[in-house]
């Protein structure tokens, strides 16, 4: 037994030492800052520059791909920030992020992927906090999850070093500069539509925990004087047909319980597969155009939203005018 324990501990110690050497070498943060999530830093930099009522669009990557923020800004004369980035952040993170940035007079549109996890993926949240340290306040730290995400981070960075530096393979996914200053993804507009969209799945119904989180955020927003609206996301037709029963059941659940205004039905932003770029929620340029047209129609025909935005817009003008005078 003594021999067994000695050799096992020695083996584990060598493994641990080897791991630490690799981790120290590869985990310097440079890779994370240049990845897709690196755009988080840019989005918050933009928020910090703004000093007036703002329109925020929040959600997963469906928002990053499906929004033309400039169009909204031109119509409502209010700055727009697209906070949408990664569904892996989860509903809690997204609403906590909003809580940290919204001020009185802001307007928030939330568009979430179907049955988006309330908790999200710890690894993605941790990666976000490496890029933008303030993000560590948007979720609760958990020791075992820290260890797991740390291991995954080291592995991903090691793979990156080997692929990028030794094999010369470019990192897959969208880099940080895929985004424009508003936080919309624009780099993929000239890319071809992928015949086989990634992310296809068979949705499994559950009583969505996101409703409670959104209601809690809504209460916060009301106290703060912020308008909040919920949107169902854009979705390919083939996936909608496959998951229709689950989606409609989920929508019934949401409609019955969600306190904030819901601006559309799930069918509103269902489009042909050819209007999506590479993944199920990622609209291409034409798809985004169609969606924005539909979204603007919704916003302008629902009077209270127009009034809300108009009031905010007037408020924004007033605030700007006062500031300019100063």
């Amino acid at each position: 037994m003594k021999k067994f324990l000695t050799f096992t501990l020695f083996f584990l110690a060598l493994l641990g030492f080897g791991y630490l050497m690799v981790a120290v070498f590869v985990n310097d943060g440079s890779r994370e800052r240049n990845t897709y999530l690196g755009a988080l830093e840019q989005k918050h930099f933009r928020i910090e520059q703004l000093n007036e009522p703002t329109i925020f669009i929040a959600g997963g990557s469906n928002v990053a791909f499906g929004t033309d923020s400039r169009q909204l800004e031109e119509i409502y004369s209010m700055p727009v920030v697209n906070l949408g980035i990664h569904y892996g952040l989860g509903v809690s993170f997204i609403t906590n992020e909003l809580k940290a940035v919204v001020e009185k007079g802001d307007v928030v549109f939330i568009s979430l992927e179907y049955l988006l996890s309330g908790e999200g993926d710890y690894r993605v949240k941790r990666q976000a906090s490496i890029i933008y340290p303030e993000a560590s306040t948007y979720f609760e730290a958990d020791f075992t999850k820290e260890v797991r995400s740390g291991l995954k981070r080291t592995r991903n960075n090691l793979q990156y070093v080997i692929d990028h530096h030794l094999k010369g393979i470019a990192e897959s996914g969208y880099p940080k500069d895929s985004f424009n200053t508003y936080g919309d993804i624009v780099s993929t507009f000239n890319n071809e539509h992928h015949e086989q969209l990634k992310g296809k799945e068979e949705l499994q119904y559950r009583d969505w925990e996101g409703v409670e989180i959104l209601n809690e955020f809504y209460a916060f927003a009301q106290r703060k004087g912020v308008c909040v609206y919920f949107l169902y996301p854009p979705y390919p037709l083939s996936e909608f047909q496959k998951n229709e029963t689950v989606i409609l059941k989920t929508a019934n659940y949401i409609n019955a319980r969600l306190k904030m205004d819901i601006l559309n039905r799930p069918e509103t932003f269902v489009y042909a597969d050819s209007l999506f770029f590479d993944m199920v929620y990622h609209l291409n340029a034409t798809g985004r155009e169609k969606r924005m047209k539909a979204l603007l129609e919704i916003i302008t025909t629902k009077d209270e939203i127009g009034r809300c935005l108009q009031a905010k817009s007037e408020l924004a003008h007033s605030i700007s005018a006062v500031r300019n005078l100063k």
Binding site: F11, V147, Q196, K198
Partner: protein, 482 residues
Amino acid sequence: MLFNSLDFAIFLPIVFLLYWFVVHRNLRLQNAFIVVASYIFYGWWDWRFLLLIIFSTFVDYSVGYLLHRQEKKRHRKLLLSISILVNLGFLAVFKYYNFFLENFVEAYSFIGGSIRPSSLSLILPVGISFYTFQTLSYTIDIYNRKLQPTKDFIAFSAFVCFFPQLVAGPIERATHLLPQFLQKRSFEYNQAVNGLRQILWGLFKKVVIADNCARYADIIFNSSEDASGSTLVVGAVFFAFQIYGDFSGYSDIAIGTSRLFGFDLMNNFNYPYFSRDIAEFWRRWHISLSTWFRDYLYIPLGGSLGSTWKKVRNIFIIFLVSGFWHGANWTFIAWGALNALYFLPLMVTKRNRKFMGRIAVGKDLPSLHEFAQIALTFMLTCFAWIFFRARDLAHAFQYIGGIFDASLFQFPTFHLDSEVRPLLLLLGAFMIMEWLGRDDAFAIENIGTPWPKPVRWSVYFGIVFLLFYFTGEQQQFIYFQF
């Protein structure tokens, strides 16, 4: 808790140290500790699962005790029936109730009727199909007077709930495992080292091979309507490796973990993808289940004795029941039926016991003829796996229809990202390792035994590095759902 999880990585060393340093002096204490540790392991999923397993333990312990004291055949049959009803009853309710209900409603509506019964919303307790069969083997063997019941309730409880094999086998026989709980275990260095080696190999099969193949199998199966015939073939092959890596990997971890505690479990997989015909495949795949069905269902039905009609009937019963054991879905029954069809010609022509020995004895490579046999058997198996993996029969037939298309002869068109090439290389290296180790209990059992320790350890470090580098998205073990 999953074997490839941080929770288990913390749980195992604690249990190991307490087992050998605190409770080792007393056998009853050691067994009691195994029961406690196993209940913690099992209750980690859901503490409510423990109620079922404890109840099942009480029932079968009592039935075993009473069976042994009972001489009248009628009363003995009644007692055995109680055990069978309780164990299979649990399965029927938790696993099959909704399936039977849905099919009854469909059949009723087919003949013009209409009913709306309420289905049960029950969580399927993890491992129920495994431990119920394990405890049934106890009562059946006592009934057949092959085993004396034990008076030691703690030892019996430990036999039922032993955590390494509780949730996904191997399904142990009471005649093999129970005596090991009734005798003192002492730590053996070689047994423990072998156990660690087997755990390492099992983790490699599960984490590197199975989880990475799962990613591509899922992509292809989930978008099978859009995929070319050749892509669908690739999807079936990926699934074949996924299920093999997953299940045999789990078994290796279970067996290796048991060795750390001084127990010897039965081998569950014997390199099934090197089988030369389907009969040999079924002697090498999920051995604990197939032998269970052979001994407790096939032989009592008459086995291969009697008329040809009876033999055919028995084969179909065995394979259909085996399919149905895997899940409450017509796809599993279809999978079982297909395997029965594969097996029948061999049985009818009395060639089902042709390949009983080792493959390519004394040779480095199989002959061309053997290679062709292995390839054909593998293809037949992959074809049957389509039913196993498909959502439902319609999906399975759509998948098969997609294969037999002109696009079968085109290059596969699914998203070949930069990670699939290393995976294909790994699969090749994996099969080579399995081939080289085909005469051992697991591929790396004797790897490098004549080499110096630093060289051997370099191989182990290499495997750990591959484990770390190629870890796929964590997937639940497939057989947990059974």
